[in-house]
Amino acid sequence: MAASGSGGSRADNGYGGQQQPRRRKGPGALATAYLVIYNVVMTAGWLVIAVGLVRAYLAKGSYHSLYYSIEKPLKFFQTGALLEILHCAFGIVPSSVVLTAFQVMSRVFLTWAVTHSVKEVQTEDSVLLFVVSWTITEIIRYSFYTFSLLNHLPYLIKWARYTLFIILYPMGVTGELLTIYAALPFVRQSGLYSISLPNKYNFSFDYYTFLILVMISYIPLFPQLYFHMLHQRRKVLSHPDEHKKSE
């Protein structure tokens, strides 16, 4: 769901209108250096995944079951995005902790709790759909951050970040929803991550129902995020000077 990864949506998207402006002290030199390294590493990682996908496709001749060739780097680098929550919490990145946490957790949830846990869906085509979407989005996003931090942002990258999401975001969401839907019967059958009454602590959890609720939650959330990105696009691409670091 966080295909475009607008982890940099700031407080002025309607949430912070009633408070004093948060005085943005930019990250210090050390923090900037660390962030540059982080973003470069992440860009490289997702490039590895992209190259892996292309090579596997060329080797196999078909686009089915390409997940297995990039399984490890995907898990590693997607989980590495959890660090971004810490970046926001420590204030070296001017984003809302809650929003970033929400987006990263939804990605990590899909990677581990759905694709990794329910082995039968790994051969589905919908997995390829969201993996491709994530790969392209993340490469552009992390290179955007890298260049922004170094104050040399090529217009092409800015344009790409704020334009390609128009296709990639719905593509990613479709892939994710189809994958969760495909996982449902296997979860029901195996009782994965579910606990039922009676038990000592009087608690029950039905993972099947939980997944259905997650799918339903896309309905209100996806349009909000999508239109927010569209709005950001209009702001950023029409005022190239004012919004140099706007995310």
């Binding site: 009633q18 004093q20 009454l197 000592k200 602590y201 009087n202 608690f203």
Partner: protein
């Protein structure tokens, strides 16, 4: 300023009198009448008016602009310098009836803090026109309404689950299973807790700030009502498992719960009475009542007792959802206690210095 015409008339009277004759007498009368009428007409201001030219009463004009569009909404004029922001808000409400005072947020600059109602107009003014930015704070709701709604919900919801509505639980199972006494006790304790809260809201608490946005009420109600449904579902479920350590666990936890409830009640009464007596300048002191002795150790004992109630309730029912709810309450109460503690440190420094915020010694 009285124009002295009186002195002229005797002069005139004298001249015709000098000339003598009836004709001159009637002339004299007309003239004196004329003079008299002039006198009456000229005597407009019998008292000297207030000296306006050197007056210190300069009325202010408050210009109210919309914070986003910067367009002028209205100008409130003839504002006396001794008035407060609340008076301005009332006048604004008369001009624009849809913005009642508690809904109006006024700032001096576009990103500045909201000004308090008690602020004096004179302290804001740099000239005779003051510009303020207006934000609509949204639909407001009174604190009493807020708390009554928030606490009545859980009370009724829990009872709905307790009576085991057929739509929630399987009827066959419900009638078959024996209900452990702890389930009845839990219902009693839960209802006691919320009834106490309701009665305190109605009869004990005195609320300082008047209103809060409606959004807060909806959020609070969603939280309380949602969690109450969740915990009530498990405690009243036919497949409920009683606590592992049996009667001992239940009775000890129930005792702790009742003590925390009593303590919470006495603390709230003490806090309310302290404000009532007007002596805002002292930290509430412990009395002969042993429950208030927590004031010696902690600056917000009401939160301590509330947290204690919920933890006892968790132990009593041994239900994980209640534990999760208690955990969230601990976090919430800790944040509130910390804020209050900082406030107390500023106001009542020497007394509060060695106290903890919510949990004695630890925090």
């Amino acid at each position: 300023m009285l124009r002295r015409k009186k002195s002229s008339s005797p002069e005139h009277k004298r001249d015709p009198a000098a000339h003598g004759g009836a004709l001159s007498m009637s002339q004299n009368n007309t003239r004196s009448f004329f003079n008299f009428s002039q006198l009456v007409l000229s005597a407009g201001h019998l008292r000297s008016p207030p000296v306006l030219k050197h007056s210190k009463i300069t009325y202010f004009e408050v210009e109210i602009l919309d914070v986003q569009s910067k367009k002028q909404i209205c100008i409130v004029d003839k504002v006396p310098p001794s008035s407060t922001l609340l008076d301005v808000k009332h006048k604004f409400h008369k001009a624009c009836p849809q913005w009642y005072p508690s809904r109006v947020g006024l700032q001096l600059e576009r990103n500045g803090p909201y000004l308090k109602d008690s602020v004096n107009i004179q302290s804001l003014a740099v000239s005779s026109i003051i510009t303020l930015y207006f934000t609509d704070l949204g639909q407001q709701v009174g604190w009493t309404t807020f708390f009554l709604t928030e606490y009545t919900g859980p009370l009724l919801i829990y009872l709905l689950f307790y009576i085991r509505l057929s739509t929630i639980y399987d009827q066959v199972e419900s009638t078959k299973n024996f209900r452990h006494p702890v389930v009845h006790l839990a219902c009693f304790c839960h209802c006691l807790h919320y009834i106490r809260h309701l009665l305190e809201t109605l009869f004990v608490h005195k609320f300082s700030g008047g209103h809060t946005p409606l959004k807060n009420m909806i959020k609070g109600c969603a939280f309380y009502w949602g969690f109450t449904s969740w915990i009530a579902y498990y405690i009243n479920h036919p497949r409920y498992t009683p606590p592992s350590f049996g009667h001992r666990q239940v009775s000890l936890a129930a005792l702790a719960f009742l003590m925390c409830e009593a303590g919470n009640h006495f603390i709230n009464v003490a806090l309310a009475h302290q404000n009532h007596s007007g002596s805002k300048a002292c930290f509430p002191s412990p009395t002969y009542n042993p429950f208030t002795w927590l004031f010696l150790l902690v600056s917000c004992p009401n939160y301590t007792y509330e947290v204690g109630s919920w933890i006892s309730f968790t132990v009593m029912t041994q239900t994980l959802p209640v534990g999760i709810f208690a955990f969230l309450m601990v976090i919430q109460m800790s944040l509130w206690a910390q804020k209050k503690h900082k406030l107390y440190l500023k106001k009542f420094y020497p007394e509060v210095r060695r106290k903890a915020a919510m949990i004695p010694i630890i925090f």
